[in-house]
Structures are given as structure tokens and as C-alpha cells.
């Protein structure tokens, strides 16, 4: 088996070309090392094009090899993509957060991956280049082929970075998850919410839930029903009920029953929306209007 550390993006693409389909990108390895390894690995984490978080006007660019720990600690993301920073801060354990990357989280395609839920809520798009030299952009939720299978073919494609619009005035977001222990536990359910408030009314809502389908799942019918409603406890309760109706969930002997998971979906939606609205109104945790 070979393990090669790419100097930069071009080097990584070249190594993939030389691998002729047998080489695969590794970007952190916290999931990959649990699986049967391919015969050649190309480590992307040293490529400067995949590192770093930067703001360009109203956009945020987040490198695919930014670690969860870096994302969680980034003031740019805490301010401009709060739900994403929060989600990254709850992945796995400190060790996993320091090694695992956002790009890896998305390409691993687990149905309840925290960072991916945050990215989809932010409306993030992935910039992907391939060995033939072409470059495309896709919404993160469209990168899922099936449970635990990505549309990104990491033997010939490289997810370079994510791009998303940062929170503007009157916008806020939050991520809520529920798990059986405080660390190293997959969530029974997670919800991310992004809202824009105008004069106390919900002008725009993005609500993402997981695990529901292979990809983090937007709930457009709930989003539409909430549009124009006041940011109030009554609205959040309604949202909870709507989410319980909207999500199809399964029970699992290892985690919880479907009934409880459906119940949690509503609770987490209420809490995520309430927190997002509080932030949109410029209030800190615990404060109320």
C-alpha cells in the first residue's frame, strides 16, 4: 500500500491520475481508517488550496481540509455561519475534531454527519475539480448517492472547498443534536436552522434535519408554513409539530425507537429555531426580548 502526501492541488490530481482509479483521496481519515483501505492513498491535507477560511464580500469560503476543530474555533464562521461552527464543535471527540475535515465529513456521506447538516443549512455549495481539469459546483445535499455513498468519486475528483453566503443583518442560525452521551456518539437526531427576521417576523427559514434520508434533508414545506409568522414560542411549537409530521424516521435497536426519534425531531426543531431567531435579533443565549 502507498500513502503519499500531495504538495498542492495539482500534485494531488497528478497522483490520482497516476493511480488510474486505484488511488483515493484521504482528508483526515477518521472514517476511512475504519474501513478497508484502498491500495493507494493521496493525503490532501497538505494542499494549501484546501486549507483556510476566508470571507469575500458576502461570501464565505471554507477549505475542504479545514478540520472540525478549526471550523468550530473560527470567528468568521461563529459570526457568519453559526450553525456550521456549532455543528463542527460537536463532531465525535477532540481527537476526531482535530483530525477530521469538513470535506471528509461530506464525502464520507454518513446520513447524520454534523458538519454536513450545518453546511446544507447554510446553503453551501461544494467546488469540485477532477483529473481531467474541469471544475464544477454542486449543492452539498446533491452530493449523496445513497446511505454512506457519495457522488464525489475520490479516485478522480477532489472536493476543493465550500462556498456559502454568510449571515447578513437580521440573520441567525443554530444547530441542535441529541445523543446518548456527550462525546463520541452519533446523534439520534439533529436539526440546523437558519432564519432571517424583519420586524420580528420570519422572512426566510431554512430547516435541515438528519438522519431522515441519505443526505441532510431540507424541509421546504415546513419552511414555507413558517414564513411570515412572528418569532414566538407559539411559532416554535407549531414548527415542532410540523417537523414531526414532515420527517420519516426509523427506529434503531442501538439508539432509540422511531416514535421517540420523531418526538426529538420536533423538540430539536423548536430549539434550533428559537436559538437562531434569538441570534438573528442580536440577543445572546439566555436573553430574551
Amino acid at each position: 500500500m502507498s500513502y503519499r502526501i500531495a504538495r498542492d492541488l495539482e500534485d494531488a490530481l497528478q497522483l490520482l491520475r497516476e493511480g488510474r482509479g486505484a488511488a483515493r483521496i484521504i482528508a483526515g481519515g477518521t472514517d476511512l481508517f475504519l474501513q478497508e483501505l484502498p491500495e493507494a492513498l493521496v493525503d490532501l491535507t497538505g494542499s494549501p488550496e484546501t486549507r483556510g477560511i476566508c470571507a469575500e464580500e458576502e461570501m464565505l469560503n471554507v477549505g475542504a481540509c479545514v478540520t472540525h476543530a478549526e471550523a468550530a474555533a473560527s470567528p468568521l464562521l461563529q459570526e457568519g455561519a453559526t450553525a456550521l461552527a456549532e455543528a463542527c464543535g460537536q463532531v465525535g471527540s477532540p481527537q476526531v475534531r482535530h483530525a477530521g475535515t469538513l470535506g471528509g465529513n461530506v464525502v464520507n456521506a454518513a446520513p447524520a454527519a454534523d458538519a454536513a447538516v450545518g453546511l446544507v443549512a447554510m446553503g453551501a455549495r461544494a467546488v469540485i475539480v477532477d483529473t481531467a481539469g474541469s471544475r464544477r459546483q454542486e449543492a452539498v445535499e446533491n452530493l449523496y448517492a445513497h446511505y454512506n455513498r457519495s457522488r464525489v468519486d475520490s479516485s478522480r475528483e477532489i472536493l476543493l472547498h465550500f462556498t456559502m453566503r454568510k449571515h447578513g443583518p437580521g440573520e441567525g442560525s443554530a444547530f441542535k443534536r441529541f445523543a446518548s452521551r456527550k462525546s463520541l456518539s452519533l446523534p439520534m437526531f439533529s436539526v440546523a436552522a437558519v432564519v432571517r427576521l424583519e420586524q420580528g417576523l420570519l422572512q426566510e427559514v431554512r430547516l435541515v434535519a438528519a438522519p431522515v434520508k441519505p443526505a441532510p434533508t431540507r424541509l421546504p414545506q415546513v419552511e414555507q408554513r413558517l414564513q411570515g409568522l412572528p418569532a414566538s414560542a407559539e411559532t416554535w411549537r407549531l414548527a415542532g409539530d410540523l417537523v414531526r409530521e414532515a420527517v420519516a424516521v426509523r427506529g434503531s435497536a442501538l439508539r432509540c425507537t422511531a416514535e421517540y426519534r420523531r418526538h426529538l425531531a420536533g423538540v430539536l426543531a423548536e430549539r434550533a429555531l428559537q436559538e437562531a431567531a434569538r441570534r438573528a435579533a442580536g440577543l445572546k443565549a439566555g436573553e430574551s426580548k
Binding site: S93, F178, S180, R181, K182, S183, L184, S185, A253, L254, C256, T257, E259, Y260, H263, L264, V267
Partner: protein
């Protein structure tokens, strides 16, 4: 600070009380060599083929493919077994299945090869033809007529049963004003020690067998292996490397691993190492038994308990291991915590086609604590009485002879309750929070398991350089036993504990011992060390007086006469050694605990003495999700005079954390006979972030049996926690959670008044 008697319990540590043996520093600095690390020259790797069926007849086994693989040295199957069935309590096991497999993981064949990879491929190359049989997984179904049968010798799948009656329960319930009853269930619990069991077996040219493996009770296991392998016990030697955790799981360890590595070594003539994988530890270890308690209790309006009736069903799994003993402790120990005049308990142990079970630290006393203490709070709620008051009204005290004849010597149980309540804020309860308190009694050693051999022995040797070595069969695998023994001898010999080394891990050298279980190390083993040190001191003083011509006092490693003549210890050692042609001066001690008039109904004193404890918990439940926040655990212990504070604190923090896992996180999940969570990703131990603030407190008592008044601590640290947490949760939500672990989902449904749809 100093520990004070009575209510003013605190924690303190002087330099001597804080002494740690060298092995502690080796562990924390990564120098320790564990069994799993060991290699011998020419060593082969052993692997086990396990049954994929919960219950099946073996029609044929074809090993030709495995034997053809280069590097394979031996393949053993049931056809090679000349052994008679063996067992710890019930003889129902063979090293390899002969014609029937009874659980997924049952040992079918064993391979020795030049390396693990070859052994693994050889195991895969063995072809077994099975005829699947109907299987039974539920202990209640197993006992019903027509259920699939596991063992011909145990018709109806009943491995063991007992009806225990004291007084007259009908009369007791007639006297009660309030009766409460409930059914509680618990899951199988894995010891989750960090080092999976590993064993290297090596044979000499005269078939002398040496096993390199870490055990809590090496001599008992040695005798069991010798009997099963038909070898004289003196030809079987167990040498213990450091143990990576025991928690009761290595009293007997994994007998299959020892037997199969021995049989493979005997077949090949080469050393053979078998090390279990983590998955094997889960599917074929000996986890703590799952239990169903149907319990009922009567109480008078003033809080006096009048009667208790229990029907306890213990799921044995496919083989018995320590099942009957665990079932016995589960069904009776808690009866002696309170003054209950009338008791009727039926306990049954049922075979099922699942992983065989065993015992975990505290032997099921903690499991029963969950059921009985939760029931006690149900009575308190029905009576409108403070749960603390109800406990103080009924708890046993010094001088009591309990309902089963246990003779209570030193006992600060009531003070433990009061101190725990005060420390958790029982009188200033915060709104929105739940509070629970629970007590425990736990035996120190057994004087009835082997009526003629109740005690322990030790030898202390004076070395040439004036230092000392203790030889003991009692094992230290993290509890601090060796530090405590060094401290005990040091106190007698008036030297520093650092001048004393403890040797305990080689059955060829150490005194015969029962080993480390039932909290017998400090109380019984330590008592023997004290006697041995006193014997040696007397011998040294005799020689010193002779050489100095006057009586001399020992201090700081030197004997001094009143007129100033001095004789340091190395000179005593030198003179003795020369006089005795190389023999070292030794002191011998053997502690013989008082016997017991234990009768055929199980009435009578069972232990040298008893430790006591009370734990209290302050919790909060998120009403929307059932999520539990534990704000505080107070753990108050009466373990006599504490000898080593740091080690004692370690026991409390570790035991409470393990009990927290049992209460709220852990447990085997099955689909039929298949373990669904055989790894640490899915079998969820609490992480560091899940451990709440723990406040340990000790209330000294002066025990007449333990050395310098000390009693045991290592098991009781887990016992009251389960009841305290369960009672606190019930207090927070107004209803008990009737099965473990108390997950957020179960708490949520219990609060909503619904059954959990597991």
C-alpha cells in the same frame, strides 16, 4: 485535614496515607508490560473458531483445509477432547464443543500457527456442518414447558434455584399499612477492562505447564485447570504480568482461553499465545448476568418494613460460570441492609442460548440495590414519608444480627446516610431537581464459601540490605493492594513503605490464596501481612537483643539499646544469613477469621466483617427529551480505618463511574442470540464528559477484624449508586424507571406515564 468520626467526614492524605507503589508510577508513565504485550521466543499464535449459530448440532468438522496451510501447527476440535466437563460451580462446559453448540460464539475449534494472520486464515478454512436447533433467548420462555432444552443434565433449563424464607411473609404483609410492588429488569454488563484477556501457555519436557496471564485468583484457577487437564497442581504454574483491569471479570478470567492455549501448547510443544479481540470479549466473555426482579414490600404507617417478597429470574446464558453464586448474592445481600423481619425470595437461574454470564465487581449486590432501593422510595412516596427518614428508621446498626444471620461488627451506616444527605443538600432541595439516596452493606471475604479455609497467609522476608519483601497471594490490579500491604508492614516494622516490595504474581512462590474478590484483600490479606510483619519483628528483636546484649527498640531501620548501642537491619540480615547458611530471616503470618455456624438454609454469618456506604444524587431531567443531568454524586463510605487515601479515592471515582455506566449507559443488546453492540462504538461507556462531580467522603470506624481497623472498599463503591440514581430520577419525574439503563428515552416515557417500546 483529617478524617473525623461521626458526621464530620472529610478527606485527607498525609504522606504515608498517600503512598503509591512503583507499579502505579510505571502504569501512568507507560512502562508497564501487560499480558497482551508479552512474547516468548518460538511462540505460536492461537485462534478460536466460534459457532455462528445460537443452538445447533455439529454434524461434521473438516480440518484438512486448515492443516494444509503453510505455518499451521495444530488444529484441535471437540473430537480431541479427553476432558471431563468442568465448571466453576456447575460442571457444564468442555474446552471445545463436542456435538452441540449453545450460543453464537461457542468454541468449536482452536488453531495454533506461526502468526495471528495464518491462524486466522486457518480458522476460516475449517469447514463445519451444523444442523440448526430451535433456540430460546428469553429466560421466562426458557423455563416454560416445551422450550428448547440446552443441557440434558438440567431439565427445563433450570440451572439453579432456591427458595429462601425467613419469618412469615403472610403475617408480615398482614401487618403492613402500605404495600408496593414492581418489576425491574437489568441488562448484561461487560467489564470493559482495557486489556482484553491474553494468555501464553508453555510446556516443559516433563509436561509442566506455565501460563503467563493475569488473574485475580491465580491459585483457584490453577487448581481448576490442573483438574480439567488431569495434571498435578504443582505442575501448573501461573505467572501474572500486570493486569489491564479486572472488575471481577478476572477472578476466573476466561477459562476457555487458558485451557485452549494449554492444550495447543501441549500438542505442539511450543508456547502458544491466545489473545481475545474486543469483539470476542463481548460475545464470548462472561458478562454480568441480566436479571428480572418481581418485588413486593409491606410497610407500616410509621415506616417500619414488615415484609418483602421477591421472585428473581436470572438469565444464565448458555453455561453457568459463576451464575449460581451471583444469583445467591443478588437474592439475599440487600436483605441485610434493613431490618426486615419476614422475607420470602424465590430465585431461579435459567439457561438461554446467549453469551454465558458471570459476575461484575460487587457480585450483583448493586443490581439488587437498584430494584430494592427504588421500591423503598415507592413506599416512601405512598406513605408520604421522607425517603431518608424511612431508611434511618430501618437500617441495621452495630451489634445487629441480620435476618440471614449476618453478624454486624463495626457499622456507621446511619451516619453514612446522614452525611450523604447533608452533603447533597437534602434539607435545601432546589426546585426542579430530583434527589435520591441509597445505602449498601457488602461482605468482606467469605467464611462460608470454604468453611475450613477462610483466611489468608503472608510471608515477610528481611533482605540483605535491610529492606523487606512481602510474599502474598492477594492481587493488585489497580486497587492499591500492594501499597496498602507495604503500609501495613511498614507500620509494624517502623520503616518507610518505600523500603518494602510486594511479590504476588507467581503461584510457584506465593502463599496459597483465594485471591482478589469479595473485598478480602485489605481486610483478610492485610491482616495476614500485619501478623507476618509482627512475627518478623519479634525474630529481629530477639537477634538484636542477643547481639547487643540488651533489649533494643527498632526505629528508622536501626535497633537501639537504651544506652545507645546500635545495630542496623542489614547487620541483622547478615548475621542471620550466615548462621543459617543462606536462609533469609522471614516472618510468617496467617489470619484465621472466626468460623460460622452457617446452616443448610443459608442462615449464619458469612463474612469476616461488613463495609457500609450511602450514596446520594442530585439530578435534573429535561422534561421535553428525558435527558438526565447529574449535578452531584456524594459517596459516603464506612470502610473502617482508611489506610491509603489516594487509592481509596481512586476506588470511589472509578466505582461510581462504572456504576453510572451500569445505571444510565451500558448494557448488551441482542437480536435473538446475536449481540448487537459488541464494540466500544455501540456499547456505550460513559465518557469523561458524562461523569458528574463526585464527592467522596469517609466515615472512619474501628473494625475489630481488619488490620489497624480497616475494611474493604473496592466493590461497595458501586453498590449504592444504582439505587441513588434511580431514586433521584424517580423523584425528578414522579415515577420510577423500571429497567436499566435509564436512558433519556426511557426517562421520557416513564415521565409521560408510558411504557418504553423497546
Amino acid at each position: 485535614m483529617k478524617v473525623l468520626p461521626g458526621d464530620q467526614a472529610t478527606v485527607s492524605a498525609s504522606a504515608e496515607e498517600d503512598f503509591q507503589s512503583a507499579e502505579v508510577w510505571d502504569k501512568v508513565s507507560g512502562k508497564t508490560v501487560y499480558g497482551i504485550d508479552l512474547r516468548l521466543p518460538g511462540m505460536l499464535a492461537g485462534k478460536i473458531l466460534r459457532s455462528p449459530h445460537a443452538h445447533a448440532r455439529i454434524k461434521s468438522i473438516d480440518i484438512t483445509g486448515a492443516l494444509k496451510l503453510p505455518g499451521v501447527r495444530a488444529v484441535l476440535t471437540g473430537a480431541d477432547m479427553k476432558q471431563k466437563p468442568y465448571g466453576i460451580v456447575v460442571k457444564d462446559e468442555l474446552p471445545l464443543a463436542v456435538d452441540t453448540v449453545r450460543y453464537i460464539g461457542d468454541e468449536v475449534a482452536a488453531v495454533a500457527a506461526v502468526d495471528e494472520e495464518t491462524a486466522r486464515r486457518a480458522v476460516e478454512a475449517i469447514r463445519v456442518e451444523y444442523e440448526p436447533l430451535a433456540a430460546v433467548y428469553d429466560p421466562e420462555e426458557a423455563l416454560q414447558a416445551g422450550a428448547p432444552q440446552l443441557h440434558g443434565d438440567f431439565p427445563g433449563n433450570l440451572a439453579w434455584e432456591r427458595l429462601l424464607e425467613r419469618g412469615d411473609v403472610a403475617k408480615g404483609f398482614a401487618e403492613a399499612d402500605v404495600v408496593v410492588e414492581e418489576t425491574f429488569t437489568t441488562r448484561a454488563i461487560n467489564h470493559a477492562y482495557l486489556e482484553p484477556i491474553s494468555c501464553i501457555a508453555s510446556v516443559d519436557s516433563y509436561q509442566g505447564l506455565t501460563l503467563y496471564t493475569a488473574l485475580q485468583s491465580p491459585h483457584i484457577v490453577r487448581n481448576l485447570l490442573a483438574e480439567t487437564l488431569d495434571l498435578p497442581p504443582s505442575r501448573v504454574r501461573i505467572v501474572g504480568p500486570a493486569m489491564g483491569g479486572g472488575f471481577g471479570g478476572r477472578v476466573f478470567g476466561n477459562l476457555k482461553v487458558y485451557l485452549l492455549s494449554a492444550l495447543l501448547a501441549m500438542r505442539t510443544g511450543a508456547p502458544v499465545k491466545i489473545r481475545l479481540t474486543r469483539e470476542e470479549e463481548f460475545i464470548a466473555g462472561r458478562p454480568m448476568v441480566p436479571v428480572i426482579f418481581k418485588v413486593k414490600m409491606g410497610v407500616r404507617r410509621d415506616g417500619t418494613i414488615t415484609a418483602r417478597e421477591s421472585d428473581i429470574l436470572v438469565d444464565n446464558g448458555a453455561y453457568s460460570a459463576q451464575g449460581p453464586w451471583v444469583a445467591k448474592t443478588i437474592s439475599e445481600r440487600n436483605d441485610s441492609l434493613y431490618r426486615i423481619p419476614h422475607i420470602r425470595t424465590r430465585v431461579r437461574l435459567a439457561y438461554t442460548n446467549k453469551v454465558p454470564t458471570g459476575q461484575l465487581r460487587a457480585y450483583g449486590n448493586q443490581t439488587a440495590n437498584y430494584a430494592y432501593e427504588t421500591l423503598l422510595d415507592m413506599a416512601a412516596r405512598k406513605l408520604g414519608m421522607d425517603p431518608l427518614e424511612l431508611r434511618l428508621k430501618n437500617c441495621v446498626g452495630p451489634g445487629d444480627i441480620t435476618v440471614h444471620g449476618l453478624e454486624i461488627k463495626s457499622c456507621n451506616l446511619a451516619q453514612c446516610f446522614k452525611t450523604a444527605a447533608a452533603a447533597v443538600g437534602w434539607d435545601q432541595k432546589k426546585p426542579g431537581r430530583g434527589y435520591g439516596i441509597s445505602g449498601a452493606i457488602h461482605a468482606n471475604g467469605s467464611v462460608v464459601a470454604h468453611k475450613d479455609f477462610r483466611g489468608a497467609a503472608a510471608v515477610v522476608r528481611l533482605e540483605e540490605d535491610g529492606k523487606f519483601t512481602i510474599f502474598t497471594g492477594e492481587q493488585d490490579y489497580g486497587q492499591g493492594t500492594h501499597a496498602v500491604f507495604a503500609q501495613i508492614a511498614a507500620r509494624v516494622l517502623n520503616v518507610s513503605p518505600q523500603d518494602i516490595t510486594v511479590c504476588s504474581k507467581d503461584t510457584a512462590v506465593i502463599p496459597y490464596s483465594q485471591g482478589a474478590f469479595a473485598m478480602r484483600q485489605t481486610t483478610i490479606g492485610g491482616h495476614a501481612v500485619r501478623l507476618a510483619a509482627e512475627d518478623l519483628k519479634q525474630k529481629m528483636a530477639g537477634l538484636a537483643a542477643e547481639l547487643l546484649g540488651a533489649e533494643a527498640e527498632l526505629s528508622g531501620g536501626v535497633f537501639r539499646t537504651p544506652d545507645g548501642a546500635e545495630l542496623p537491619l542489614p547487620e541483622i540480615a547478615y548475621h542471620w544469613r550466615c548462621r543459617h547458611n543462606g536462609l533469609a530471616m522471614t516472618g510468617e503470618g496467617n489470619y484465621n477469621p472466626p468460623g460460622s455456624a452457617y446452616d443448610s438454609t443459608g442462615y449464619g454469618n458469612i463474612a469476616v466483617t461488613y463495609s457500609f456506604a450511602a450514596h446520594a444524587a442530585e439530578v435534573e431531567v429535561d422534561p421535553q427529551t428525558g435527558a438526565l443531568t447529574i449535578h452531584k454524586i456524594v459517596a459516603v463510605h464506612d470502610s473502617g480505618k482508611i489506610i491509603n487515601y489516594t487509592a481509596s479515592l481512586g476506588q470511589v471515582f472509578g466505582g461510581v463511574t462504572q456504576g453510572l455506566g451500569y445505571s444510565c449507559f451500558e448494557g448488551y443488546l441482542f437480536d435473538g442470540g446475536q449481540v448487537l453492540n459488541p464494540n466500544f462504538a455501540t456499547y456505550q461507556l460513559p465518557t469523561a464528559l458524562d461523569v458528574p462531580p463526585i464527592e467522596p467522603l469517609f466515615i472512619d470506624s474501628e473494625d475489630p477484624e481488619g488490620p489497624f481497623g480497616a475494611k474493604g472498599l473496592g466493590e461497595i463503591v458501586q453498590v449504592p449508586l444504582l439505587g441513588a440514581l434511580s431514586c433521584a430520577v424517580a423523584d425528578a419525574i414522579g415515577a420510577p424507571v423500571t429497567s436499566l439503563p435509564m436512558t433519556a428515552e426511557k426517562i421520557y416515557w416513564a415521565a409521560a406515564g408510558k411504557e418504553c417500546l423497546e
